[in-house]
């Protein structure tokens, strides 16, 4: 579903990504982890073209992301993305947040879009909040809405960019529960996250990044039980002690 | 289409330079007086003495509500009469330059005081607390701790306001005072070359103000990274 081949990116002389190669197959859940500044957020943003890259290629569902002829908007409408800071649109009610792209991008009618929106809000347990505004919801609720908003586009896969790192600790689980459920239903997912419990529960594979390179790309069992690189071992030791 | 003839400009340069000196004189004196008076107004506005803060608020809001042209007209047409009748100044003495400076200073002080007030309020409250904890009086804390930090942050805004003030000095045209713009207009009118002189004046103002604002921005960026 997603194929990356030797993707490299630099800002001026600063190398952000170096020769990143991996595949995500349909139904797989990939967890991307690594120390801050290792390029994991940049990597995931390259998948839907929010970050341009200078060499290599990324193919999503048969479409090349780096090809200037590619209609990026169309591609992005098929790939759901959830951001660290939720990025709900503050001037729209919750239901309008879910409906807007359905009507303007997918050309669904307002009724279809709202119906679908309500169904998804039901699913993330926020039907009652439909007419409120993002600023009136807690962080955890906002992030669940953001997931529902991405799902409303019927994406073929979902990208999560540190979806729980801006949340207060007591709200992390409500978001992880939604993500776990989604994974169990067979959604193809690529998640940048430090939640190793989540990775152990649902990940098919774990990618470990350091200094812009993919250092480990292995099944979760292999990664957690005997990570090969020293840096991954150090990283795990730091994270799992808490 | 108009046929350009720039020949009257070279000969007029000394006269134009005299005008520029007047523009700069008004600007500089108004900036200095405006900042001093503006600082006092800001301190009054923030003080806990109610009459003082009301006075400052009324002053600032009044001057910010009326056009500069009106303020200048007050100072050119009315204030001299007032002074004549109050202090017995000789009738018809030329007070236009001092009127202009006074008008600009009092007007700009209202704007400066708002910049300075915001600057003082941008200094974290803890600083005043820390200074008091060290045994400083309110005055000492303000003078030694708060104001120096506030001014450091405000310098770019104060300078930008100075550039606006320099542009606004052209409005002394309403009193027929020969500042740079007035001089350019007079030369253009005299030689029938108004088009050229106005374009020249516009270009000179643009070069000066554009350069000055670039310098301010450079300084601002340096402040940010420091």
């Amino acid at each position: 579903m997603i194929t990356m081949n030797k993707v490299s990116k630099h800002y001026g002389s600063f190398q952000v990504l170096t020769d990143c190669t991996t595949q995500v197959h349909k139904g797989e859940v990939i967890v991307v982890c690594g120390p801050s500044g290792s390029g994991k957020s940049t990597l995931i943003k390259c998948v839907n073209g929010l970050e341009p890259f200078q060499s290599g290629e990324i193919i999503v569902n048969g479409v090349s992301v780096g090809d200037p002829k590619t209609n990026l908007s169309k591609l992005r409408s098929t790939v759901g993305m959830v951001f660290q800071n939720f990025e709900l649109f503050p001037h729209m009610s919750i239901i309008d947040n879910l409906a807007i792209a359905q009507t303007k991008v997918l050309a669904r009618t307002q009724e279809q879009a709202r119906e679908k929106g309500f169904k998804l809000l039901d699913r993330v347990g926020l039907r009652a909040q439909a007419e409120k505004y993002p600023g009136q919801l807690s962080g955890g609720q906002q992030q669940r809405v953001a997931i529902a908003r991405a799902l409303a586009m019927d994406p073929i896969c979902m990208l999560f960019d540190e979806p729980t790192s801006a949340l207060d600790p007591e709200m992390v689980n409500e978001v992880l529960d939604v993500m776990t459920e989604l994974a169990q239903e067979g959604m193809t997912m690529m998640c940048v996250t430090h939640e190793m419990g989540f990775a152990k529960r649902v990940a098919s594979r774990v990618i470990f990044m350091d200094q812009g390179r993919i250092v480990e790309d292995d099944s979760k069992e292999a990664f957690f039980d005997h990570a090969r690189s020293e840096r991954a071992q150090q990283f795990l030791a730091k994270i799992l002690h808490h | 289409m108009h046929e350009f003839d720039w020949s009257s400009i070279p000969n007029a340069l000394p006269f134009l330079w005299d005008g520029m000196k007047i523009s700069l004189e008004i600007t500089l004196s108004a900036v200095v007086f405006g900042i001093v008076w503006g600082t006092l107004l800001a301190l009054m506005r923030l003080s806990s003495v109610t009459p003082l803060s009301w006075f400052a608020a009324a002053y600032v809001n009044l001057f910010r509500a009326i056009p500069l042209v009106m303020v200048l007209l007050w100072f050119f047409l009315i204030v001299p009469h007032l002074l004549e009748s109050l202090f017995g100044f000789p009738r018809g003495s030329d007070m236009r330059l001092s009127s202009a400076i006074a008008g600009f200073a009092l007007f700009e002080a209202a704007y400066y005081s708002e910049i300075i007030r915001a600057g003082i309020q941008s200094v974290p409250k803890g600083q005043m607390g820390a200074a008091s904890a060290l045994g400083m009086t309110y005055g000492q804390a303000m003078r030694l701790v708060v104001l120096p930090q506030a001014f450091r942050n405000m310098v770019p805004l104060l300078l930008t306001q100075g550039i606006i003030l320099f542009q606004d000095t052209s409005l002394v045209y309403v009193s027929a005072l020969a500042d740079f713009f007035g001089a350019a207009y007079k030369v253009g009118d005299r030689d029938g070359r108004l088009v050229e002189l106005l374009l020249f004046a516009g270009a000179v103002y643009f070069v000066i103000c554009f350069t000055a604002s670039r310098i301010v921005r450079h300084y601002q960026n340096k402040l940010k990274t420091a």
Binding site: S73, G80, F89, V105 | Q167, Y205
Partner: protein, 245 residues
């Protein structure tokens, strides 16, 4: 101090016999309002366009917008006004320039003033629009794009609606400025409020009354605009949203 106050002056017939002095004032008041509102409308439209252009990822467009703003910000308003009034007609193609010069002087003064104030203010509005857009969290643009919006849809549905709300307070002060700046147009002979005040001084020998009246009229405009804009601010307030960042 030996000054004879006479507030009744406003109700006396004018020296030229066309109504009362109060009528003059009211005429000036109407000119100020008409001039400021029409210029404001143009300034909003132009300023929005230029401000948006300053934020788009295209060197030529944003460069053009930057130059536009710099030109109108770095030349004094009075000089700009004289350029529009005295210089522009000379630089226009001959038939257009002549048509302008042969039109009614009041029309000439009004048009020059309107264009001048509109463009001068549009540069300032553009700066507010730009800083409004730039003050939005950068993730908002990405979120819009990630949902499949094109860049222009992202501006239309995501960035601009919030930016507009953020810039209502700074726009209030620009709106007030345009009324104040309109007084500069008295210098080319347009009989707006300040010019009428000055004329009254010449005709009536009651300078205090006329200047106080004109000053009060400006204060009145100020108060009305402030309340009006506060009302607008309340209308566009987003529930639960606390300020910009």
């Amino acid at each position: 101090m030996g000054y004879n106050w006479n507030w009744g002056i406003f109700l006396q017939p004018t020296a030229t016999g066309d109504g009362t002095y109060l009528g003059w004032m009211f005429y000036g008041f109407k000119v100020t309002i008409a001039l400021s509102l029409s210029a404001w409308f143009i300034a909003l439209v132009l300023g929005a366009v230029v401000g948006i252009l300053r934020t788009v990822p295209n060197k030529w467009l944003s460069g053009f917008a930057t130059a536009y703003v710099e030109v109108f910000r770095n030349i004094p308003l009075l000089v700009q006004l004289f350029l529009w009034y005295f210089v522009m007609p000379e630089l226009l193609p001959e038939n257009l320039g002549n048509a302008f010069k042969q039109s009614n002087p009041i029309v000439q003064q009004f048009l020059s003033s309107m264009v001048c104030l509109a463009l001068f203010t549009s540069a300032r509005v553009a700066e507010q629009v730009r800083s409004g857009i730039n003050s939005l969290p950068p993730g908002q643009k990405n979120a819009g794009l990630a949902m499949g919006f094109t860049l222009s849809q992202t501006y239309r549905y995501v960035l601009l609606p919030m930016a507009v709300r953020l810039i209502v307070p700074p726009l209030t002060s620009e709106f007030l400025n345009i009324f104040k700046n309109s007084a500069v147009c008295s210098t080319i002979g347009l009989l707006e409020l300040a010019a009428q005040g000055r004329q009254l001084v010449d005709y009536t020998a009651q300078p205090y009354e006329s200047f106080i009246a004109v000053t009060l009229a400006y204060l009145l405009i100020n108060v009305v605009v402030m309340f009006g804009m506060r009302w607008v601010e309340e209308q566009v307030r987003v529930p639960g949203y606390i300020g910009g960042k």
